[in-house]
Symmetry: C2
Subunit: 194 residues, 2 copies
């Protein structure tokens, strides 16, 4: 038996992302955003949704670039704070002591201490109700060297990457590996599943 | 020290979503998609990216509606299979024995056995390189009644909802609750963080 929670934009899991952009004065601005995800593979593209009222919005509009820095559990407090204060009022990097580094491929800063970084050049800016969906073409993705497993994949559990739950507004750690994608369901193919 | 993985559309975590839509003949089609996320709160909107070559694409285009059914670990094999076969060639619901139910609010079917469902009406259809980003306004979100905690939030860990990792193509369970969002970082506000 299902119970409705009504007309709500809730899905799980969500990534915990800190978006970086430069403001007009060239100051690095960092903001935690609730909504980010992959939107295309050719070109490799991610989408982030930002309210026009946020300081990050004008920064991205002006420079046409942003980064996504994904925190480890160790930096969860800092990342959470980046969603609580505005770069208009606070020097969030100074307060947290974290380091902004200019992107190697785009005109936007990322957080050196966070284990995973995407550098993105804006290709689309789409108004969807309350938010602007900025689509960014990924110019580089990189992770701390010690997070790669033997196959060269990023081990998110080892990196203590967290999931954001917008239902209870909580963060969760990554649990166990429970199966291989495009593989655990292959048994159905033999059952006449084409 | 960071190591580049190049120009790749990788972010973690991603939800595991099965998208439901009716085909021309009115047959329920279910497909696992890699990319889904929230894109706006007013109106509550989700985005899913679908390649034009996929059977789901024409179904959504025609009816202007889709659902997202989120599997529990118990149904991971079935959900994975929905990404391996095409509705053009296989009756995926018959093969898996799962039940398609007509949406209560939109002209699209969802999977009764999966613990979380969104019903969505298409508001935008945006071409982004290889994919079409369909934006859907959420008409209803609901979860199995036993998944709600005492505060009325969905307990994803109790529901054994999985995370999809597109780096290693693996599924992960949800781990521990590691903190409250918009809260664990509040200490920085007292440090002059505005």
């Amino acid at each position: 038996m299902k119970r409705s929670i009504g007309v709500k934009e809730i899905l799980f899991p969500n990534p915990m992302c800190v978006v970086g952009a430069y403001d007009e004065a060239g100051k690095a601005n960092m903001a935690a955003i609730a909504w980010a995800g992959i939107v295309a593979s050719v070109p490799p593209s991610v989408g982030i949704s930002v309210r026009p009222s946020r300081y990050t919005h004008v920064c991205i509009k002006r420079r046409g670039a942003f980064t996504i820095s994904v925190p480890s559990l160790h930096y969860l407090k800092e990342a959470d704070y980046f969603g609580l204060a505005s770069g208009r009022d606070a020097d969030k990097l100074a307060v947290t002591g974290l380091t902004a580094v200019r992107g190697a491929f785009v005109d936007a800063p990322y957080i050196e201490e966070f284990p995973y970084v995407l550098e993105c050049a804006v290709t689309h800016s789409i108004e969807i109700g309350s938010h602007t969906l900025f689509v960014g073409e990924v110019k580089d993705a990189r992770a701390d060297a010690e997070l790669f497993d033997e196959q060269g994949h990023v081990d998110w559990a080892a990196g203590q990457i967290v999931c954001y739950d917008m239902s209870a507004n909580s963060y969760y750690s990554v649990g166990e590996n429970v199966g291989k994608a495009f593989s655990v369901g292959a048994g159905f193919l033999q059952k006449g599943g084409a």
